[in-house]
Symmetry: C2
Subunit: 174 residues, 2 copies
DNA sequence: TATATCATGTAATGCGTTACATGATTTA
DNA sequence: TAAATCATGTAACGCATTACATGATATA
């Protein structure tokens, strides 16, 4: 729905996006995409129209008013600890749609809570590594270490991302 | 199976591991774990025994010879591009079991191919950000940027991890 | 004795994957 | 005209999630 909100898309468009672009590593299988589109349509969140642009028919989906409300609600959900631990990919996919849907303030609010949760979880990982690391195998300890480094990198990113937004705000409102 | 190989585990043990430890963020729901254990048992990869240690019965699973062979085969599968793009968590979970199953040489071989695939994919992400970034929204570009930074961090980690193994080899065989 | 924790399951539902299928339109 | 690509689906299967259920044993 985020992609359809940015621009009307057919099922085939989405397949190509998932297969060729790095963002949102979702499945590009037709058995996943077409039924999902029909489900969203039956719920009234998107609406498909056949388009004949010279060639053959393409069923192009657009977001509806209830769909936009649903998308806003999804993007507005607070960042939880469980999101940070197990659904980081989904969080970043959500964030990529943020300023098109919630605006800069929404995106900045998201980044602030993400930074807080990331800081907490990263500290927990570091503590776990300090305490349990010595008793683990080399590869076990190193795997945990990779989690620590990945989350540290995300934490640094969330801070520079917030600064990027702050610069863009002061720059446009002199 | 990796966890059961390290140490015999009951379904409840696994639930607690998944719920409390940071490694391998798998589901701790009983509806996922118990049927999965029974499937592995029916395939002959693990074997459960009831144990009565003073308290009530616990069904403790151990790995079998075919199960160990299967685990070795799984851990020996080459690192593919798709693994790096969409299954990085699984790769690190696999790696955490490596030197208990394949030994240091196996773990080092894994790290070398992982480093190669990570370097390729990271370069692709950087190129995509350079080319497509200017046309994207701020949050879209930043989300992509987080992917770049995360993979750069993993790439650095894979190199230091390899050095850690090399030091441990020269240290023990003077 | 009530509550929390230990320990193991089952049932309904939904969804993803894999594989198969179809027909139209470019390109070689 | 053969092959690749466009564009959209269906069917079988497996598995995860959620919620419910059970009984035993510690702990308050």
């Amino acid at each position: 729905m985020g992609l359809i909100h940015q621009q009307a898309q057919s099922g085939y468009d989405l397949r190509k996006l998932f297969a060729t672009t790095p963002l949102g590593s979702y499945s590009d299988s037709p058995g996943a995409i077409y039924p999902a589109l029909r489900r969203l349509e039956s719920q009234g969140f998107i609406q498909g129209h056949d388009e004949y642009s010279g060639k053959r028919a393409r069923c192009v989906f657009r977001i509806t008013a209830p769909g936009l409300a649903q998308l806003e609600a999804w993007l507005s959900q607070p960042v939880t600890r469980l999101d940070v631990v197990r659904r980081m990919d989904e969080l970043l996919a959500k964030f990529s749609f943020m300023d098109g849907v919630l605006g800069k303030e929404g995106a900045m609010g998201f980044l602030r809570t993400l930074e807080r949760e990331l800081a907490i979880y990263t500290a927990e990982l570091e503590a776990y590594l300090r305490e349990e690391g010595p008793g683990m195998s080399i590869s076990g300890r190193l795997a945990l270490d990779s989690g620590v480094h990945s989350h540290q990198a995300l934490l640094r990113w969330s801070r520079t991302a917030l600064e990027t937004y702050q610069r863009s705000l002061t720059g446009e409102a002199p």
